[in-house]
Amino acid sequence: MDTFDLEKIFQEKIDGEIKIEPKDWMPDAYRKTNIRQVSQHAHSEIVGMLPEGNWISRAPSLKRKAILLAKVQDEAGHGLYLYSACETLGITREETINDLHSGKAKYSSIFNYPTLTWADMGAIGWLVDGAAILNQVMLTRTSYGPYARAMVRICKEESFHQRQGFEILLVLSKGSEEQIAMCQDAINRWWWPSLMMFGPHDSESTNSEQSMKWKIKRKTNDELRQNFVDMCAEQVKILGMKLPDDKLKWNDKKEHYDFGEIDWNEFWNVVKGNGPCNKQRLDARKKAWEEGAWVREAAAAYAEKRKARQQAA
């Protein structure tokens, strides 16, 4: 069978909604796109632990500490589901992590913003996880089997993340004057970066018609972003807060909210490494990797020793 036939069979499977599995033939570009996307999604989960991990020891009560700890642990788990899925495409874990540390592989830019107050834990859960869920729900139907299955597992766990975030804000919104101000301030700072999570306008996009054809993705950036704005514009009323956008207004004709323009300069700046925390985040990951080296070595040595002992017995 030549490549032409193989590609035809491959595309027929995709068109027939049959998932692609690790040992199936796939075009190199499909493999490469998935490696890039899945690994960067994995990195996002792992780097995403940092801004929140920062608040575990400072959460205002034992209950909030326990919840935040569980959420951050979930993110480690999500990272691992995704790293495993990525490995099925034929890249080693080591290469994947190297690419993160060298800066070649990206992670979601949202995690390059600092978490300044406790209210940020609420805003991250509500807005950042909310935006992530929209994308991830779409990805449960992605064409690569292991990625889709990882997404199903992640989506099941993610809903608690968003709800606990909204609840944090809800409690603050009914609190003292300072707490109410803190709540609004966090929403103000996280709103625009959350909208940026969906990526550039569809009209700006050039090269991955292919991702739609291969059903790696099923909705456009602007579609998902509009869904998100429509949802949040309603939910923010329950908090009695405002989204920081003068142009946000219900449009009867479109049956959607109109909203203002994103600062795309800021977007590209953060992508390119000039966000408020890019360096800090990567340094933290590298430090964890380097300082954990002795643990990895010790575990390997212990396993060796135990194996030798078993063989001797």
Partner: protein, 123 residues
């Protein structure tokens, strides 16, 4: 319909836009020495173990403990199996057609093949 889309969401920054090329790091750590394990979980007594994913671990005990932390945080399991991935042998997807062909034309193996009078209830 010709939708053009490029997402720069989770994990989708094109390499040329990132502005950094990959440079391998020094030792890369020893993790690559840890083998890959496949994880199977029994969700409750009476059900089969089912494949849930994989992970790296130095030995079987560590693989089981890590599997507990990763795959059963919400009481998804009462029992875990791990097996080193290299010991799994699989049928070849490229030969799936011929390989499973013998079952295709034996519809008489299914109960619905047999038409019986309605009076023969629940057989």
């Amino acid at each position: 319909m010709n939708i053009q889309i490029r997402k720069l969401y989770y994990g989708d920054i094109p390499e040329e836009k990132g502005g950094v090329q990959s440079t391998p790091l020094g030792d890369g750590g020893k993790q690559s020495d840890w083998p890959l394990w496949e994880v199977f979980i029994r969700s409750k007594q009476g059900l089969d173990h089912k494949h849930v994913g994989s992970l790296h671990a130095a030995d079987a005990q560590m693989a089981i403990e890590n599997a507990r932390d990763v795959y059963t945080r919400r009481m998804e399991g009462v029992s875990i199996w791990v097996v080193e991935s290299k010991y799994i042998h699989a049928s070849n997807p490229e030969e799936a057609g011929e390989f499973f062909e013998p079952a295709v034309d034996k519809i008489y193996r299914h109960p619905t093949f047999y038409e019986l009078p309605d009076e023969v209830n629940q057989m």
